[in-house]
């Protein structure tokens, strides 16, 4: 039995094709229309509205709140100023990824962490001996993501009590939409200009209605997970259990990944005297790198087209993003695998997120992507590139 999010009365009415997916026990729209194309382009050219309520949210408060968050995540959370947000993964003691999410600093002694999966027990166990309280506020907060070039204008015209235009990338503001108090963070999962809006569930519908109303002149469109998946791959953003397997769910050791192996090495920020969970293990890994590394791949699109054309087909991989693992070869030997891939409508390229042996994961390295056309396997050349694949200046400015 799937639950309905606080926005379901609106999203349910709009999701004409009943394309739902189970997202953490909630019904989440894959797309509101038969195809997600329009919704994707709303992200890149107007504004798309996503219901992201199924995310898990935790509030951490108390004199040791900063120290606790710092202990949990791999980044320097204690140094995150009030009114700012940071993205960070977190690890187990062995330095293997558990989950990733955003850390909002609400005050000197107050944080909010979003997580993909239930984490109360872990956060509380990390808090042992500290003067900090961890509360699961997942059911107390509904959330929408408004993503796209016009999102700022929509919010600027709607939100009172906060200057939306001055909220920086990964900034946070408290304001009101009509009489509804909201928290707005300039964050998202699309790699575009965008915001996430956090609201108490009883105000969810009012917020939705106000946004849809205010956005009408700005091309706002409710959007589902299919569009989000394409956008997040373009942005080079990882999806838990797809691009990496959490240390908690990995059935075998080799399925686990360290932040380094998942391309999140930049988020590992050792700080003397303030050890975070897994820090010691990651120190060792930094000194002696793993043989695995994360890489973005651009697959040779004309070759894909030609492979399909040779049997008289159009390139059938152009539709939705794929979460099917695909082997990657170099000189006939498997050197890794793709975890997510998609045709990028805006770049007109076929792009993929991959885990490759380190020696094959440097930008410019050439590898081969396995492509199945009419039940026959082929190899198509691909080039390792830096992520994000698509990185518009408006995201930050």
């Amino acid at each position: 039995m799937l639950l309905e999010t606080p926005f379901h009365r609106r999203t349910g009415a709009l999701c004409h094709h009943r394309r739902w997916r189970n997202w953490s026990g909630y019904a989440a729209a894959l797309s509101y229309e038969p195809s997600h194309e329009y919704e994707y382009y709303a992200v890149r050219s107007a504004a798309a509205l996503f219901d992201i309520s199924p995310l898990r949210k935790y509030e951490i408060t108390g004199p040791d709140a900063a120290a606790l968050v710092d202990r949990i995540v791999t980044r320097h959370a204690a140094d995150c100023p009030e009114g700012r947000v940071l993205y960070s993964p977190w690890c187990d003691e062995a330095g293997k990824l558990i989950d990733d999410g955003t850390v909002q600093r609400l005050g000197a002694d107050a944080f909010r962490i979003t997580a993909a999966d239930p984490s109360l027990r872990w956060f509380q166990d990390c808090a042992l001996g500290m003067d900090a309280r961890v509360r699961d506020v997942s059911l107390e907060l509904a959330a929408l993501a408004l993503q796209g070039p016009t999102s700022r204008d929509i919010l600027a015209g709607l939100v009172t009590g906060a200057d939306i235009a001055s909220v920086p990338y990964f900034g946070l503001a408290e304001g009101n939409v009509g009489s509804v108090p909201v928290t707005i963070t300039r964050t998202g999962y699309t790699g575009d200009l965008g915001y996430e809006i956090w609201v108490r569930p009883e105000h969810a519908l009012a917020l939705w209605d106000a946004l849809m109303e205010a956005g009408r002149g700005y091309g706002i469109a409710p959007a589902g997970l299919d569009a989000l998946d394409v956008a997040r791959i373009e942005a080079g953003l990882l999806l838990k259990e797809v691009d990496y397997v959490s240390a908690w769910t990995a059935l075998i050791e080799s399925r686990k990944s360290s932040p380094y192996e998942a391309g999140l090495g930049w988020a590992v920020q050792p700080r003397p005297g303030r050890d975070f969970v897994g820090g010691k293990a990651l120190e060792g890994e930094a000194a002696q790198p793993s043989k695995w590394a994360f890489a973005g791949l651009e697959v040779d699109w004309p070759r894909i087209e030609r492979r399909f054309a040779s049997v008289g087909l159009p390139p059938l991989v152009a539709g939705r993003a794929s979460r099917e693992p695909v082997p990657i070869f170099a000189a006939g030997t498997q050197v890794g695998f793709v975890t997510s891939s998609t045709f990028s409508p805006i770049l007109k390229k076929y792009i993929a997120l991959a885990t490759l042996q380190r020696d094959f994961a440097r930008p410019g390295d050439r590898v081969d992507f396995e492509l199945t056309v009419e039940f026959v396997r082929h190899e198509v050349p691909a080039t390792v590139v830096k992520t994000p694949f698509f990185d518009p200046a408006r995201k930050r400015n």
């Binding site: 040791d64 003691e93 166990d125 990390c126 001996g129 003397p272 969970v277 010691k280």
Partner: protein
Amino acid sequence: MSAYDAVVVGAGHNALVAAALLAREGWEVLVLERRGVVGGAAATEEVFPGCRVNLAAQDAGLFRREIVADLGLEARGLEWVHPPAVATSLTGGGDALTLWRNPGRTRDEIAHHGPADAARFPDWADYLRSMARVLRVALDHAPPVLQDASARGRLRLLRPLLRAGRVGKRTVVELLRVLPMSARDLLDDWFAGEALKGMLGTTGLLGARQGPSAMGGAFRMVYHATGTEACGFRSSVFVKGGVGVLSEALEAAARSHGAEVRTDAEVESILMEDGVATGVLLAGGEEIRASCVVSGVDPRRTFFGLVGAPRLGPEFNRKVTNIRLSGTTASLHLLLDGLPPLPDAAERLSGHTLVAPDLEYLERAGDDAKYGRCSARPHLDMVVPTLHDPTLAPEGRHLASIQIRYAPWRLRSGSWEDGAIRDALRSSALDVLEEFLPGLRARIVDHRLLTPVDFETELGLTGGDEYHGQMGLDQLLFMRPVPGWGRYRTPVERLFLCGSGTHPGGGVTGGAGRLAAREILRDRKLGARLGGRDQT
């Protein structure tokens, strides 16, 4: 620069053993004891005016004789007392069943109760001895490291097995069968007499919260038979002058090798730099630097109290949280104006005097503990140390120290702060005692009750657990103090454990201190070989 090579936290008997053995190797060692006397739970103090009382531990029969020889303790004032009675079970109505140190006398005594049991008793004593001999092999060596996948590590894993194998494969297999059994099952296989079974079953309760039907009781019976001269029961060997004399002899040995021992010096926390222990901070604010810190304090207090959970990983902390620490024993010390009225009292009461008339009595006492309350009719274990050394009390006076089981540290309703609960425990113990030893009550001049909470506050025993962690099969060997950290090391580099919370476990054995010292020395040697960075 470190002032010391090792600072030892706590001056319990294991800590003193470790300190003495490290000092003997030429180390600069400092022992810090919170209390005014050394010994920890093996201390003898003036509880009643002019009387020296063993606060918690009474019997030192498990103390490893190798340590006595190694440290020359007998030349430093240690004198053993082997009383004529090993144990006497009060069977009601002023009757008693005594196990004597003299096997023939024991056999005759049991024969009054059951000739078949009497005939089997010598075999039982041999059997228990042979089991204990094999178990000693495991207890006297540091536990294997399962994580060590190297060929040498694997070989080391086999070594104790091979040693044990020399004793005889059949004995090893029999031990494997017996260890998980309950005291009841083991005893039912041997004896018919309820009084005898009740008496023998009492050692199966030591360090556990369960009654005699609980699995693992047989292990505890064998464990307590690993002492010297055990003949079918625990060895029942005492120290002249009180068990504190043993601790004092250890202190003297440590000092003679150059160790410093400071009492009234409470360690507040362990100092660390980059995950490495560098010394300790005293309650007064004094910092003491050392190349390594050795904690004789129980593991939970060491990790959560002295290191602090936030400085350890959450997964490790879960393990520390999961250590089953639960005190189940209270002590009642009595000052008497004469021996309790029992025929041949001076002889019969010279060992452990037990109220354990049958296994069901113990079982019902254990049931109460299961539901978080004191036993309505507790099992009692009384020692009269003035029979070992009359000078412990003024002339004409006797001391009786009684362990009351079960008195759980965590009460389901009420609190130990509540005087009424303490009074109720005291009177149920005295009522039972009066029933089994009529006339005793009239001899009481003074009394003092120590509850598990008192053990915690006065002796620093977390949860009032005098074993630093229950002696269940799940908390032994490489599982003690926490799984994966069985070799006295900790996640904090250069912080070691040496208390009863580590292998081989509780009781006045000295084994943990001895093995810890050995491992620490080995570790430092290894460090020296790798480049001598341990002398920074």
